[in-house]
């Protein structure tokens, strides 16, 4: 009998441990203040229970990690907004999308979350979750956060793109600074080899050959390439749009007008553009690892001086923290922005401007638990009292506002400045939920600085140049939803294009016709028709 008792106790202990391990976290307590206020007068000393809010958002600096648990902002949010915030950083790209989808499948989405998409289509991700009934309407939240609505949710197009069946489901944050990527060349290499800035695809090829063959870095080795890049999306991605644009076929879609609308691969100039790209590959003047590289690998390579022509984001190039490794390796080097090359038919396009911004959404579960008002309070605080804390840290410690109203770090301990690498975990929310591209912000985020050899680096000069170039207005892409067989369709579309670009398939009339026929067999015609209708319905195609 005694032994039985021990057995029983052991079984109960083991079982409870296992069950505890398997159990879900207890449901967050629901907001109580409103109920208390309407039911009975509240005692003067009664403090309403804080509302637990779970936030999933991507990081501003992915490699920097989340803020620590004792972050002052958590205390301020609790004190000033009565919200107990649990902030979790979402991975980027497909990992983030997989995490969000897995949570959705378990009907366990967080209270407030950023829409993440591997194909950079947050609206598509939002649409999927709305269709499943997992996302709450947020029309009523705008009135609860007037200041934020004025600063962040003021673009009618962005609002209409987050509206389904007449209700707003997403809170569209302002897009990052538009048209911020561009074409760059190593001026020091051009000067050393006595070359001029290329203005046509042929000249681009000639310069790339020279950069590859003529030892532009003067180290006595043939270890450089003309161009560098990587694949970052469907088709040829966006990093080679300046080449496709020279043939008038940048991007996936032709947005010119309703009559010509369709996939750009229908355009007869498309195979020509691919043939030119293939000539770069065949001439071995492009970093041969480009199809396998990830963005960080690519960035490590230009910082190692591997190539002399590339497409890069202005901040990723010229902000002090990003440029410094390159500066230390090559203090006399200089990247200069150049215009898009003009193709044989007079086309010159820098890239496709999509205007995509981040979209945040409230889960239906959170709405059912009465948390929408608390989320609105939190967001309004982020745009008002908490703005500087979340964007730049504590005034006087991490930043100061000078006499001209500019954000500055002058006179502060450099290791505590908001620009220091050590401080990056404390401003992880800034790009997703705090900044709205005000003049003060842009000047603070991209200040001028001096390189090792005394040259003044002006990030905004690069931006201004990029923005002055010809871009395709591709904002319509936001309303185009992926086809039902997206995995097969997009694989066929992208694989075929890359095979032609790499020379795995010869660019010939016969092969191209075969490629298009295959695309049609996967439903390309129907996809184009539905995309066209969606654009017309949204008033984005005339």
């Amino acid at each position: 009998m005694k032994n039985w008792k021990y057995v029983l106790i052991a079984v109960v202990l083991v079982s409870t441990q296992l069950l505890a391990a398997c159990a879900q976290e207890p449901a967050a307590p629901t907001a109580a203040p409103e109920v208390a206020a309407t039911v009975a007068p509240v005692e003067p000393t009664a403090v309403p229970e804080p509302v637990d809010i779970t936030l999933w958002a991507m990081a501003t600096v992915t490699e920097a990690g989340p803020p620590p648990d004792d972050w002052i902002a958590y205390d301020r949010i609790l004190e000033e907004v009565n919200v107990n915030l649990k902030y979790e950083i979402l991975p980027t790209g497909s990992d983030g999308e997989a995490k969000l989808n897995a949570a959705a499948a378990a009907n366990n989405l967080p209270d407030f979350m950023q829409m993440v998409s591997a194909s950079n289509d947050p609206r598509g991700a939002l649409y999927n979750l709305v269709q499943l009934g997992l996302i709450a309407q947020v029309d009523d939240m705008l009135a609860l956060m007037p200041e934020r609505t004025q600063k962040h949710y003021n673009d009618p197009l962005a609002l209409s793109l987050s509206t389904f069946d007449g209700h707003l489901y997403g809170l569209p944050e302002p897009p990052p600074i538009p048209r911020r990527e561009g074409l760059l060349i190593r001026k020091d290499w051009l000067d050393k080899l006595g070359l001029a800035v290329p203005t046509t695809p042929e000249e681009l090829m000639a310069v790339a050959v020279a950069f590859t063959e003529q030892d532009p870095d003067g180290n006595g080795k043939k270890d450089t390439y003309g161009l560098g890049g990587f694949l970052n999306g469907d088709g040829m991605g966006t990093r080679f749009d300046f080449i496709m644009g020279a043939y008038g076929v940048a991007g996936m879609w032709d947005f010119d007008d309703a009559a010509s609308f369709g996939l750009n691969v229908r355009n007869e100039k498309y195979p020509e553009a691919l043939a030119f790209f293939n000539s770069l590959v065949e001439a071995k003047v492009i970093d041969p690892d480009w199809p396998t590289l990830k963005r960080d690998d690519f960035r490590a390579r230009w910082k190692q001086g591997l190539f002399g022509i590339m497409w890069e984001d202005f901040a990723a190039l010229s902000n002090k923290s990003n440029y410094t490794p390159f500066d230390e390796n090559f203090p006399d080097a200089e990247w200069v922005p150049i215009p898009a090359p003009k193709g044989p038919y007079g086309d010159a396009t820098y890239g496709v401007y999509t205007g995509r911004g981040q979209i945040f959404a409230v889960s239906q579960k959170a709405a059912d638990e009465g948390k929408k008002e608390a989320i609105a309070r939190l967001l309004e605080w982020m745009a008002t009292d908490g703005y500087y804390l979340l964007g730049f840290g504590e005034e006087g410690v991490n930043f100061i506002i000078d006499a001209n109203g500019n954000i500055s770090t002058e006179g502060l301990d450099p290791t505590k400045a908001y620009t220091a690498a050590e401080f990056q975990p404390f401003t992880q929310m800034r790009n997703q939920l705090v900044f709205y591209n005000s003049t003060q912000e842009i000047a603070a985020r991209y200040p001028n600085w001096t390189t090792i050899n005394g040259r003044t680096m002006q990030p905004l000069t690069y931006l201004t140049f990029y923005q002055s170039q010809p871009w395709v207005d591709g904002r319509g892409i936001q309303v185009i939803l992926p086809p039902a067989n997206a995995a097969d369709f997009l694989r066929y579309y992208t694989e075929g294009i890359v095979q032609f670009a790499l020379g795995q398939k010869e660019v010939s009339d016969e092969n191209w016709a075969e490629y298009l026929a295959g695309l049609d067999s996967l439903g390309a015609v129907e996809y184009e028709a539905s995309a066209k209708q969606a654009l017309i319905d949204a008033g984005l195609l005339k």
């Binding site: 057995v7 079984v11 009907n107 009934g133 199809p291 396998t292 591997l306």
Partner: protein, 322 residues
Amino acid sequence: MTIDYHPNSNFNKRLVTFKIRSSKLLNIMWRQRWIYLLILPTVIYFLVFKYGPLWNAQIAFRDFKPLLGVFDSPWVGFKHFEAFVTSFYFNQLIGNTLIFSVAKLILGMPLAILCAIALHETWLKRFRTFVQTTIYLPHFLSWVIMFGVLLVVLSPGNGLVNDVIKRFGGEPIPFLTSPAHFRWVVILSDIWKETGWSTILYLAALLGISPELYEAAAVDSATPIQRIWYISLPGILPVIMLITLLRMGHILEAGFNQIFVLYSVPVYSVGDIIDTWVYRQGVLQFQFSLATAVGFFKGVIGLVLILIANKIAKRVAQQGLF
């Protein structure tokens, strides 16, 4: 309720036999209660994490809607199985998956056995420890790190292998983006990473062989090759059979982590496997029913293969898994 006892009826005979057997079984279990207690956590683990979720596999036959839950989502029969089987790349996905899986099995297993025998045969203890540690190491690296290593080794621009090729006047080979070479990269990198770890099982089996057999062989002047051929290999045959049978159950799993990290657009035709397709179409496109249907499909194929292989093993080698 009382049951009338009729000694002559068949039913009651069976009932009595059942009662006696149950009572015997309970007695045996009681006598060995501490052993059963030891195994209880494992049983609970399998019930909670392996058998419990099987109930949710029914979403393969439903159009799963998270808000409706597993039980209220509408039934759609074999719609998702049909969608997978009729998908554009179905044949290619099955082909690639089988090629990777079978090649890893056929090439990886003999190498692991060979390593284990070599380690078992060596009399230099320090050397054996050093080799063991060295060949186990790659197993502990993630595929993300392995991708970085492979890029450094195989890059056509400045990779070590291509540097050698160029030095001998050859043309650099884009191993990671060339359809002709990619499969070999996947198979050989997997062998490199996992062979050392796989030797553990065979080494344990070799150590389980009675030393008396080797002593008797030495007395009979057997050569090392004869020792291996007539003692070591037959001694570990049951383990080889067991591992082969277990691998048959996973024949449609070709290593998602590895391929997801290593593959890129130019090698989709030779690198895309069932699991990477499921990730793109099922997980990223929010088609969890489709993903579950494919998982179900893989499980059924694996079960059938295990049963067939077990039968063959019993018939040919007189030993099987069950």
